[in-house]
């Protein structure tokens, strides 16, 4: 059974590697949005240090969301998705594989570049570690929840804007606990509780969201 998950991951990663520009442009979107905030707010280091977790998280939310339409759109257009839905494997497992592959090419790079951006905001080493960890743990939940939105808006006109309307309100808990983990660490409360809740959300999202998106995909393919 897990074979289908791994083969979908391998296939999607191979496809993504052939279009590396997409990965890089999402990453640079993240970097540019984060860099815009100091220009808008002003260069006061204390203020920026305080705002950094929120800014990085909001930018991560937007960057993940921008790459969501591609999750199913290409497969939908060339008919692969229909074949996958007809295959004997449960469609939920196929979507699980696609969600994990999406995280590997969109969430993971964000987490890897976060320390560099955090240094720009003069975060302490502890805060930097927790922020990176939080983005690492939390972004899979974003890919999972986002898959539902991507499946629901598949093939619709104006899908991108619609997707943001559907998905961003559902991202709020991840944003709260992701940014909250850093604040709690800085204020000395310890961010473990937040990180645990974030991990719980990720597990729930990876476990359940693919099945909801599979149901949505079946509706889109009817």
């Amino acid at each position: 059974m897990p074979n289908i998950v791994f083969s979908v991951i391998a296939r999607d990663l191979k496809l993504a590697m052939r279009r590396q520009a997409d990965i890089v442009s999402a990453l640079f979107f993240f970097v540019i949005v984060v860099s815009l905030f100091p220009l808008g707010i002003g260069p006061e280091v204390d203020l920026l240090r305080q705002l950094a977790p929120g800014i990085l998280w909001v930018a991560a939310l937007l960057a993940t969301m921008l790459s969501l339409p591609r999750l199913f759109a290409d497969d939908y257009r060339d008919g692969t998705l229909e074949q996958l839905a007809l295959a004997p494997h449960p469609l939920g497992l196929v979507v699980t594989g696609k969600v994990i592959a999406h995280w590997l090419v969109s969430g993971l790079p964000l987490a890897l570049i976060t320390p560099v951006l955090g240094i720009q905001f003069d975060l302490s080493t502890d805060a930097l570690l927790v922020l990176t960890g939080a983005i690492l743990i939390g972004t899979p939940a974003l890919s999972g929840i986002g898959a539902i939105g991507a499946a629901l808006t598949l093939g619709l006109r104006g899908g991108g804007i619609l997707l943001s309307l559907l998905v961003l309100p559902l991202y709020i808990p991840v944003l709260i606990f992701g940014a909250g983990a850093v604040d709690a660490t800085v204020s000395g409360l310890g961010g473990e509780g937040h990180l645990s809740l974030l991990a719980a959300m990720t597990i729930a999202a990876i476990g359940f969201a693919p099945w909801a998106s599979a149901a949505a995909l079946k509706i889109a393919l009817e």
Binding site: G180, M201, I219
Partner: protein, 248 residues
């Protein structure tokens, strides 16, 4: 076949359409009666609050709209579940018909809350847990309406909207508690509605107003679902007969 009253008969638009038409005047009348009684008690009978003065009277609109905004979302999710499980046509139409009313209630709740907050707390808006989650609820309503409006095929729209509603209803508790914890972590709650034992007469006014909003919501949703039914089923015989009957 049998004389037993069969509720499922009304799951078909052709039978539900006349039933809804008969029910609407009753709900409108009940809504007006409850509304007049509630407003009478709220505006004239209920005493002035010793802390908040006359301004507190907006509670008679604010609390019922907040209740309705939350309750309507649950009803929509209920219809979505029925629609996805049994593949009934009417369920999706009901969810669609309720959505604008739910969004209106959420908006009214926020608006009256702001009008209340300004004289009482000195500010239009605070990032309080309840205000924030009500705002997110409004976003969820708007997301649902945008999704069903974007899908041309009505049946596909119903089903996709149904999945979104179910995902939303699972998320509402998570959103509510995360906002609550976020709020308590960021700041001590600057706003505290002292849970003073509310005068009984005020409670009555509020309950009557809640019933009035309830009746209004049912009446308007039924009226809306009737137009949706006519639009969706315009190619069927019963709609032709219905419309021909109207023009005579």
């Amino acid at each position: 076949m049998n004389d037993r009253f069969n509720l499922y008969r009304f799951a078909a638009p052709a039978t539900f359409y006349p039933l809804a038409g008969k029910m609407i005047p009753w709900f409108v009348a009940a809504g007006i009666l409850f509304g007049l009684a509630g407003l009478y008690i709220g505006m004239l009978v209920a005493p002035t609050d010793f802390q908040q003065g006359e301004g507190y009277r907006i509670i008679f609109v604010h609390v019922p709209t907040s209740w309705m905004s939350m309750f309507i979302y649950l009803v929509m999710a209920f219809w979505a579940a029925i629609g996805l499980a049994f593949n009934t046509r009417l369920s999706g139409m009901m969810a669609r018909a309720l959505a604008p009313t739910g969004a209106l209630m959420a908006f009214l709740s926020l608006w009256t809350g702001a009008l209340w907050g300004k004289p009482m707390w000195g500010t239009w808006w605070v990032w309080d847990a309840r205000l924030t989650s009500e705002l997110i609820l409004l976003f969820l309503y708007i997301g649902y309406m945008a999704l069903v409006a974007a899908i041309d095929d009505p049946r596909r729209g119903d089903k996709a909207g149904g999945i979104l509603l179910l995902v939303g209803v699972v998320n509402i508790p998570i959103i509510y508690f995360s906002v609550k914890w976020w709020n308590t972590l960021h700041q001590g709650s600057s706003v505290n509605l002292t849970k003073s034992s509310m005068a009984e007469i005020m409670l009555w006014g509020m309950l009557l107003m809640a019933l009035a909003f309830w009746m209004y919501s049912i009446a308007i949703a039924l009226a809306r679902v009737r137009t949706i039914m006519l639009e969706r089923e315009r190619h069927t015989d019963w709609v032709r007969q219905e419309l021909a009957g109207d023009s005579q």
